[in-house]
Symmetry: C2
DNA sequence: TCGATAGAATTACGTTGTAAATTTATGACG
DNA sequence: CGTCATAAATTTACAACGTAATTCTATCGA
């Protein structure tokens, strides 16, 4: 019998390939990177990646999922870190979100890239995206358990998510001019949310 | 002497080409559309578009600029329309923004597509994008002139912009699950902004 | 009528994603 | 210990792409 790839071998190669792809994406832009470049960076032939991924779209989905996973990890670490009080922990989670986005703009753009047509075809991506956002909801549920927040944790979590995501995307789209930037807008939006203390969906 | 294209001829052909390209983009996705398809839809040869646009990127920039222009027009119409009171006019402008985005999701995605590397190369696009956002600031300056708002119009305009853009982008990225949607989040964020009445950049 | 020439069409080429065919290397078995 | 079936990798091949270079066509001043 010939050599057989263990599931571990497969996973390891996929990791290496995604690492290489991610670097190339960040360096040259997602569209400019070819399968041939990725294969060459790994020292394998052009067709070898096809043994590990269905096609180029599957590679893109895998890289996006990995970016979401790293993002989720940053949030989870912030949530797990010691904090003097719950408010400080809230701020730490928000700061971790923003820091990840601004320090890894190419990864963040990729995560929320709106072109992948049917994300349902890539369950790994969907799971990673859910995991990332779940931390924010979980933190609000912590606050609720401590009696510091009463309301719809999912809804309010999404409000804060949108309050971070909107400014970040405007900045990454190149549409903010000094002195405006994502941080300044996020400060205003989160201050407004905290002050208004919205807890339930408001009727339009 | 041979036939000579007047500037009007050129402009007319560009319009026709952008119309065709936009339809194809919305139908098949931006990436799947080829120059050959666009040319064929116009009944011209493959290379004819190159007489009117430098390359494919220039076509994309032109289509994006046109989308921003239509968006700006929708906002300007809402601002110019009669309204019972200033608050109603504010709501009408916001509603026009959201309606455009949700009724033309492909156009909206294109406008804020984060891939075009150096938008500075396309001054028409930059101008259209500025025009779109200027309406919101202008409306706040109207309010200020009437004594109904005192604060940094540019900053607060951007706060509302981000409060609309964030939820819309989350929805268009396919990351909102029922019962959550862009409208519900926008209602919460704009309610918070109105209630908190932020007027100046808040210090982090 | 005719020829110079702007604009359109045709041809051509390098590159892409990937299907199909071929080669290579492994490990159980006579 | 060689041999062979076969998984994995490579090589080859091809249609389609963006676009440069070339050729054709139709117009208008002479």
């Amino acid at each position: 019998m010939p050599k057989i790839l263990t599931p571990d071998d497969v996973e390891q190669f996929r990791e290496r390939l995604c690492d290489a792809a991610e670097h190339l994406f960040a360096q040259h832009g997602t569209d400019a990177v070819t399968i041939r470049q990725i294969a060459s960076a790994l020292g394998v032939s052009t067709m070898t990646p096809y043994r590990y991924f269905k096609d180029k779209d599957a590679i893109l989905a895998a890289v996006r999922a990995r970016a979401f996973d790293r993002h989720a990890e940053a949030l989870e670490n912030a949530r797990a870190a010691p904090a003097p009080d719950p408010e400080a922990r809230s701020n730490a989670i928000g700061a971790a979100y923003v820091r990840f986005a601004l320090e890894n703009p190419e990864a963040y753009k990729l995560m929320f890239d709106v072109r992948q047509p049917s994300e349902g075809d890539y369950p790994d991506f969907v799971r990673a995206a859910e995991r990332s956002h779940a931390t924010m909801t979980a933190h609000l549920e912590d606050l609720a358990a401590e009696g510091l927040f009463a309301g719809d944790a999912d809804y309010v979590g999404h409000l804060y998510w949108a309050a971070l995501h909107g400014p970040i995307m405007l900045q990454l789209s190149g549409l903010l001019r000094p002195p405006l930037d994502a941080q300044t807008l996020i400060a205003g939006l989160t201050a407004a949310l905290a002050k208004a203390n919205i807890t339930q969906p408001v009727s339009a």
